[in-house]
């Protein structure tokens, strides 16, 4: 699931970099800070005014002679240059804006993906668990029916299967159309192309669905999904992937729950 996620990130980053290659920001500078010319003129003590000069010169030219004197040639007459130069502080700096851009975009992507996934888990998971528990029996039955339809042996227990199916369903019902991108964010994003077909169909048919459906309703929906996504092999493979991913996700969730219990409830660790 991470691979998929990272692939999408990498793709976006590459696209970004490719499109905005032309940048107005330079990567090198010579930054000089001098007292302002007035202080040199009057030699007063209140010389808090500073002059900042930034130029793009080679590192060996980054000194008073290379940067400041050419700039101030018209303002300074005669020997002033000798006076002002020792008081200037020049520093050569470089950076890499491309790295900064890529990194910041990656960071934004990661954070937004995590947030979307988190919202998804927070909003749908409790609901999902409750309903799965309530409709467990029905779903198993339903899945068996579907399995016999698609003439394929079920590899692993149907409960997970039913759950992930259900999961998708509720998900669609709730966010019909508005959060299509979240399919990528989900680790279960490996749905086949047939699914996307059915999803389009689905989104077209259900406009304002309430998410508290009756189990009946759900079954109907599932059936439509199966009949619309008519590639049976696809369907089987998708089921396998979903099974595996669902399995992994369940295991991970159990671990996190355990961690949460240790830390937030029982306070045995990381206080």
């Amino acid at each position: 699931m991470d691979r998929k996620l990272l692939c999408s990130i990498a793709l976006v980053v590459v696209l970004h970099v490719a499109t905005t290659q032309s940048q107005s920001y330079e990567d090198k500078r010579c930054k000089c800070i001098c007292p302002s010319l007035k202080t040199v003129d009057n030699t007063t003590m209140e010389g808090t005014d500073r002059m900042l000069i930034i130029d793009n010169v080679p590192p060996n030219k980054c000194n008073c002679d290379g940067v400041i004197l050419p700039r101030l040639a018209n303002k300074i007459k005669g020997l002033k240059g000798q006076e002002i130069c020792p008081r200037c502080d020049c520093k050569y700096e470089n950076r890499n804006t491309t790295i900064i851009k890529v990194v910041v975009i990656i960071v934004i992507w990661i954070i937004s993906l995590l947030v979307i996934y988190m919202l998804f888990l927070m909003c749908l998971d409790p609901l999902l668990n409750k309903r799965v528990k309530a409709n467990y029996q029905e779903h198993t039955n339903e899945d068996v029916i579907i399995a016999s339809d698609s003439i394929s042996p079920k590899p692993i227990g149907p409960s997970i299967n039913g759950r992930s199916r259900h999961f998708r369903d509720v998900y669609r019902n709730k966010y019909s159309g508005s959060y299509v991108t979240t399919t990528i964010a989900r680790p279960t994003g490996g749905t086949g192309s047939s699914d996307s077909d059915s999803e389009v169909e689905f989104l077209a048919t259900t406009t304002t669905t309430h998410y508290r459906h009756q189990p009946h309703d759900d079954r109907e929906r599932d059936d439509t999904a199966v009949t619309v996504g008519n590639g049976q092999d696809m369907h089987v493979r998708e089921n396998n992937v979903l099974n595996r991913v669902g399995h992994q996700q369940d295991k991970w969730k159990r671990q996190v729950r355990e961690q949460r219990r240790n830390i937030y409830d029982r306070h045995t660790m990381l206080n």
């Binding site: 920001y25 500078r29 206080n271």
Partner: protein
């Protein structure tokens, strides 16, 4: 680039965590503690009845020992193998276990003569007293058997390549302690196997070469990834920190300084330029004024709250283990403790993202401590690429030590300091080989971060400063004074923080982790914004305090009445302007605010480190003291203490140096580091000449800290959480004996397994009725002579595996731990479990002083040791028993040791 560790480890991590579905099941169990679920001794009574018959049957003439042929190929390198033909030879030099072991094997010969009945204490020896007469025939066989099969006992895990290995053997459960000796022996066996195979074919030669360099490759990869992740965190955090103030619309990914990079017009007041838009500018199109201030204030708070909310809820949702600093836990893990998925990939991701967010939220915390955790996560994940490290917990800790060094190396841009930090603070077992690898790893990580150049200053930390000013000898006095102040501040901080953490742990506050984070963030943001020194990023504040007042420094802190005539010549000493006095007051306010806020922040459920806040506290103190000294020198340049150095008008006192010394002092007081701290500080400044001031301050601070409160913050948090960490710094100064500590106590029976007379059902009943994590294997119930030690987990796995794979294993099958062929078996075929038996458990006698036992636990990294008397097994001392005993002796509550 981030794809690699994740992809490579998904499978492996799931394998390792698959066995630990319910770590809680092993949570409070203890080895051989008193908790036998049924009444006292009832299972063993039944067992001894049965054993009486079976042992006699063993002594029948039919049981001439038949030795199985070992795979001698595995052990042909072992020295002294052939010299041990005498069965009664005291086996003082085991082939593989290392010479540092005084096995109790020599004891049976003495026990057969002395009879075991005499001075032996009654506990545990109840069954053994009657069986003395039987010991003689058993003894001969025992001795030879032991000698013969010792190789096998240790080599069981070395044969991980062979197909008949039981899956999962050699791993540990969650929240368990590892057995260093056993793991190292396993690795040695594996290594021998590879060396042996190397002559066979070219492919094996290649495999051997790969095995030999895999440690270096692993640390190389760890260094690479650590550098990259640290670069990402640095860049991301600095960008998000500036997001609180405004945005760079032309290139939103640049922070304020980078946005104004090539602008000539940077105004010196706020560092703003025309490309950079403050939030007030975007909404009201004015940069100054009351309305703009209010809007900026509002946005500052809102962004801070948003970041904090994200950090806290991400941590709560995905990886609760990512919260906190992580160093106490890393210390515990490195000392040989298993916390599953504490160093996993989700922890890595969430900790990296979370530390960016929480630093950007303006909370009083730093990213340096979590960097150690992040690096350790990377080390753990990458170690799974190399089975040599991924499958062996003791070896994995070598990689983790190196990774911790890399973490500090990137956190401070101090490779040597990182290595020393790993050596001094976090690591437990640190051989020279690990030192070199840590050095290499830290070097690579620092190099990578340096080439990413996240701050655009050619260094890997923001607050790198360069100094080359001399200091006067008398200045040692204020430096030591700073050390004392630092020690006091640090102790204050530790005590208050611990008090607050304990309050959080036991009160209702702990039930609202996200709310707590939000409240603290809100208060921090509201207080911090008005004061420019708390509003700015803490790293920038440290940089400002460390740096000298040159012409390029426009802060009010440098508002001296001085005229810059030559940037190369020394800056003359000057009277402080009003700006300096104002800045000093603001700094004192900032000190109080930071101290208080850090107390409440450290330990919240977001990723948070401690280095930066402590450095900031110390730097503020030091800078204020430094300014005071400077003004003293300016006003009274002729005092003898300055020994004439200040009369020439040069700037003889550098306040920035005081800030640095103060920072070292507070950090030293908080963490109780000495050597690594000084090295880190001098790597930060690139000046060797300040080592003496830094050393003086660090030492003074440590003394003061040790006098006021015994523990550093990490040790205190380890104690608070009750991690099973046996500190190698403390000395055990009591005169107790092993017999006082061992389990079982008087009137309780020791749960043992006999070597060849228990059935599968017996063992399963034993496993059900007791909760011990391991069982000693003895000759028989009557003759409790030690054969070996078997772990509960291994036993479970082996039994399940046997039931699944081997035909004819029923509940009535005998479980045999010897290599002796069984007598004409009437019942079902026996189950041979010799492979999982540790034939070389460490034993002590009951009269061994606890000081020695504690030392053995520390230095050998034992998980348990068996206690014998006259050669007969009396009991077990586990690490937990030792920890509880140490606590009890120190008049602390022994029940705070929670795990295992």
């Amino acid at each position: 680039m981030e794809k690699f560790p994740l992809k490579g480890t998904t499978g492996n991590l799931s394998i390792s965590s698959a066995a630990a579905n319910h770590p809680l099941s092993a949570d409070h169990t203890s080895y051989q503690s008193v908790t036998s679920k049924t009444g006292k001794g009832s299972p063993s009574v039944g067992g001894s009845d049965r054993n009486a018959t079976s042992t006699t049957s063993l002594t029948t003439p039919g049981t001439v020992p038949v030795y199985e042929a070992d795979e001698d190929g595995m052990i042909d390198i072992t020295p002294g193998n052939g010299g041990l033909t005498n069965p009664n030879y005291p086996y003082s030099y085991p082939a593989n276990g290392g010479g540092d072991r005084q096995d109790g094997v020599g004891a049976p010969s003495s026990s057969s003569s002395s009879g075991g009945g005499g001075p032996g204490p009654g506990n545990g020896g109840g069954g053994g007293g009657e069986g003395v007469g039987m010991s003689s025939p058993t003894h001969t066989r025992f001795g030879r058997d032991f000698h013969h099969s010792d190789h096998e006992g240790i080599s069981f895990a070395g044969m991980t390549d062979t197909s008949d290995d039981i899956p999962g053997i050699g791993q540990y459960e969650d929240f368990h302690t590892i057995d260093w000796q056993r793991d190292i022996a396993r690795d040695r066996m594996r290594h021998r196997y590879i060396v042996k195979k190397r002559q066979d074919s070219f492919w094996d030669l290649l495999k051997g070469a790969h095995d030999a360099w895999s440690g270096w490759v692993c640390v190389l990869l760890v260094g690479l990834f650590t550098g990259c992740v640290a670069g990402v965190i640095d860049i991301g955090a600095s960008w998000m920190t500036d997001l609180k103030f405004g945005i760079c619309p032309q290139a939103f990914w640049l922070n304020r300084e980078q946005c104004c990079w090539s602008s000539n017009e940077t105004s010196f007041d706020s560092g703003n330029c025309s490309q950079w838009y403050a939030w007030s500018e975007i909404f009201t199109s004015s940069r100054e004024g009351f309305g703009a201030y209010v809007i900026s204030y509002f946005f500052y708070i809102m962004w801070a709250m948003l970041f904090a909310l994200l950090a806290a809820s991400l941590v709560r949702m995905f990886a609760p283990y990512a919260c906190g600093s992580g160093i106490p836990e890393i210390k515990t893990i490195l000392s040989g403790f298993i916390i599953r998925s504490y160093l996993g990939k989700w922890t890595l991701i969430i900790k990296s993202v979370g530390i960016m967010l929480s630093v950007s939220a303006g909370l009083s915390l730093g990213k340096e401590g979590p960097m150690v955790h992040i690096a350790s996560c990377i080390g753990n994940i990458l170690s799974y690429l190399f089975p040599k490290y991924g499958r062996n917990e003791a070896k994995k800790r070598e990689i983790l030590s190196a990774a911790a060094a890399a973490g500090v190396s990137v956190a401070f841009g101090a490779p040597i300091g990182g290595v020393l930090f790993s050596l001094e603070e976090v690591s437990y077992y640190f051989p020279l080989k690990t030192l070199w690898r840590s050095f290499f790893c830290a070097l690579i990580a620092a190099f990578i971060l340096r080439s990413i150049n996240p701050f655009g200053n050619e260094h890997s930390v923001l607050f790198y400063v360069e100094y080359n000013k001399p200091w006067i000898f008398f200045e040692l006095v204020p430096f030591i004074g700073l050390g004392i102040i630092g020690g006091i501040i640090a102790t204050l901080f530790i005590k208050a923080n611990l008090w607050w953490c304990r309050f959080r742990k036991y009160s209702k506050l702990g039930q609202y982790p996200v709310t707590e984070v939000l409240i603290v963030t809100f208060i921090t943001a509201v207080i911090a914004y008005p004061n420019p020194y708390t509003r700015m990023n803490t790293s920038e504040l440290i940089y400002l305090l460390f740096s000298q007042c040159g012409i390029s420094n426009q802060d009010p802190l440098c508002d001296y009445n001085r005229n810059f005539t030559d940037v190369n010549s020394a800056i003359e000493i000057a009277a402080a302007g009003p700006g300096v006095y104002k800045a000093v007051w603001l700094l004192i306010l900032a000190l109080a605010m930071k101290l208080i806020m850090t107390i409440f922040t450290f330990g919240m459920k977001v990723p948070c480190g401690l280095f930066i806040p402590s450095l900031a506290l110390g730097a503020i103190t030091g800078r204020v003291v430094g300014i005071a000294m400077e003004q003293l020198a300016y006003n009274y340049p002729k005092i003898w203490i300055f020994s004439g150095e200040c009369s020439t008008g040069d700037d003889c006192i550098t306040p920035g140096l005081y800030a640095m010394v103060g920072a070292a002092a507070v950090l030293g007081g908080v963490t109780r580091m000495t050597v690594s701290l000084v090295v880190i500080m001098f790597e930060l400044t690139g000046g060797v000449r300040y080592i003496v001031p830094l050393m003086a301050a660090a030492m003074a601070s440590k003394w003061v800290g040790d006098a006021l409160g015994r523990q550093g913050i990490y040790d205190a948090h380890i104690a608070l959480n009750g991690y099973p960490f046996l500190d190698s710094k403390d000395e055990f100064q009591h005169t107790t004996l092993a017999a006082d500590v061992m389990q079982p106590k008087r009137n309780e029976t020791l749960a043992v397994i006999t070597q060849d007379s228990m059935t599968v059902d017996d063992i399963e009943t034993l496993l059900k009725e007791t909760e011990h994590n391991g069982y000693p294997v003895v000759v028989s119930k009557e003759n409790q002579y030690l054969v070996g030690f078997v772990l509960r987990r291994d036993l479970n796995l082996a039994l399940a595996n046997a039931r699944r794979i081997i035909d004819g294993i029923t509940g009535q099958s005998l479980v045999i731990f010897t290599s002796v062929q069984p007598v004409q078996n009437l019942g079902p075929s026996p189950l041979k479990l010799k492979k999982i038996l540790d034939m070389a458990p460490i034993t002590v006698t009951d009269q061994t002083p606890m000081e020695t036992v504690v030392d053995m636990f520390r230095k050998l990294g034992l998980r348990q040791t068996l206690v014998t008397h006259n050669g007969r097994l009396l009991g077990v001392i586990t690490k937990k028993d030792v920890l509880r005993h140490v606590k009890q002796m120190d008049n602390e509550d022994p029940n705070t040791v929670l795990f295992n």
